[in-house]
Symmetry: C2
């Protein structure tokens, strides 16, 4: 956009930003935002590019804004950090108008509001394709209060928040009109119920919620290592296993799958295990000594999220997923199930 | 790029990153970087997009990496902050290979090293066009130690670090082969000297240096407001005037112009004042009470940079630039001089 267009749009954006957070002294509008962190910070950056991470024909501007901030905040959840500030870079193509830009920012601001995140600064630029780059800063009283990927020890329980598979099922529905038709005519669910199941799955794909409350509860309860599931259970378990220098043994039957996703799988004659290969659920996978498991479940449950033991940490390396009946699945083998 | 390509490239990148800085507990590779700021932070984000902010036919990968980090750090310089951490998002097109990516990061890492900046994290993505989004975090003992755009008071002196016009002259040389030819044949300078003048101007455009040391010296000496010159003297003075609610009166004859840029102007029959309209010099414009001017000049000079009074702060609004002979120039009128 031209410089004047940029300044005017920036002025409109500033009007819509939530009030500054508790640590923010100077927000958007100066050369830099000024904050007083007061402890340790966790900082993560995430970029989303049209055609790579999202498609504008499938996701509205508000959903794109929501998801970009959600995936960034999910990295803070995976450290057990409190959400603090977000800094937003938008690359705006000529066919993405000012109103769409405001919608995108409103979607982002709504999630910022829900999660106590301060949209403290940003930059706008022209671009051929829409892109977003989001930096989020989270806080903790000290570095030791944050949970890294390294730290899982043999004997630890492996736990998962919420349920997975919903985002993959939602993407399949968005991608494949035939799948929607098959599901509707399968008779697995009826009328309004079918619609709400499909909406739930699509929302899970387009508007994920970062598990910030659960992440802090797990950190407080004594999780030894943690990661968020963006690439998929097998791939992200692999990152945690590698960083910790351990093996993760996962029981597929123990993994909580989204019931709507299972209903879709059954109605369309797919084995539900294909859902294990899906990414973008943004649930948290953590290791925790068995003696702290009960306290962790209660703390995470108090925040409204289930916590399920899905396996254990063993000496060794890599990830092993055991299907019912005893067949072992390598994470790289998920594709065979899809 | 494919996920495996991304992981491999990330591994190569991590090998090349400078050692972690004093505040960084966990750098690149976990869900987030962990730092312990210990005071106030200044955070700024900047995006550079191919075809908008740079052209790959004019700037090499190392220069693109340098300039992206330099422009981000310049915002910290303008607050008087100490450089801390940088987080780098790269959008990589198919025709930008792994070697070019490493060159780009080497250019960035060299500047990071010179300025004491820790490259603490980042994200890679595919993109049709090359883009960079850089978040920089600077530090100060407390929020009051940082200098904002607001704060200039009538009676303050208006000072400028270094000299300006070089970046605009460099861009003109890059853009216009005829200008290079005219300059060579003007006889204004000879042989090797001509070459070194042109190289100096091009470097000023492609590899600007953020004035971090001067910015901290000005903050310590008691600057009341400060901004870096990215859009140009008139435009950026306008931002400072607006934020402070004052008028800035600038004497054009007092503005230090890069001698190489003046030589180019003279050799090609342009009035040197067109240089005032150029951006991207990344010098600092600050207001300071006259009683602190000597101390500020000495402190900035000790860091190897000149400090020049170019005008004063007055009651009122806007920016007034007085040309020799008394003609007043509106910042919007720079184009008439070009």
């Amino acid at each position: 956009m031209g410089r004047m267009g940029e300044f005017e749009l920036l002025a409109r954006i500033r009007e819509r930003l939530p009030a500054s957070g508790p640590r923010t002294h100077v927000g958007s509008g100066d050369d830099a935002a000024i904050t007083v962190p007061g402890g340790a910070t966790a900082t993560s950056v995430d970029a989303l590019v049209e055609g790579v991470h999202f498609r504008r024909e499938l996701a509205g501007p508000a959903q794109i804004g929501h998801k970009a901030l959600a995936t960034a905040l999910s990295d803070l959840a995976a450290m057990g950090a409190e959400a603090g500030e977000a800094y937003v870079v938008l690359g705006l193509p000529p066919d993405f108008g000012e109103e769409e830009c405001i919608e995108l920012l409103d979607g982002m601001a709504a999630l910022a509001d829900r999660t106590g995140t301060d949209l403290a600064g940003g930059d706008l630029t022209r671009s051929e394709r829409l892109f977003l780059a989001i930096t989020v800063v989270g806080h903790a009283s000290n570095p030791e209060a944050l949970v890294q990927r390294a730290g899982a020890r043999p004997g630890d329980a492996l736990v998962l928040t919420g349920e997975i598979g919903g985002a993959a099922a939602g993407l399949a529905l968005l991608d494949n009109p035939q799948l929607r038709t098959d599901f509707v005519f399968s008779g697995a669910t009826e009328g309004e119920k079918t619609k709400s199941v499909m909406e739930e799955l699509v929302a899970r794909q387009l508007e994920p919620m970062p598990r910030l409350v659960a992440g802090r509860a797990l950190a407080l309860a004594g999780a030894t290592a943690m990661i968020d599931l963006s690439d998929g259970l097998g791939a992200d378990a692999g990152h945690l296993a590698q960083a910790s220098g351990v093996k993760l043994a996962i029981e597929a039957a123990a993994v909580p799958l989204a019931s709507a996703a299972v209903a879709l799988s059954e109605a369309t004659d797919r084995v539900p295990w294909w859902l294990l290969g899906g990414g973008e659920d943004y649930e948290l996978l953590a290791s925790i000594p068995p003696g702290r498991l009960e306290r962790a479940s209660e703390a995470v449950g108090n925040g409204g999220t289930a916590l399920t033991q899905v396996g254990e940490v063993q000496a060794g390396s890599g990830v092993e997923i055991r299907l019912p009946g005893g067949r072992l699945l390598e994470p790289a083998g998920f594709d065979q199930l899809a």
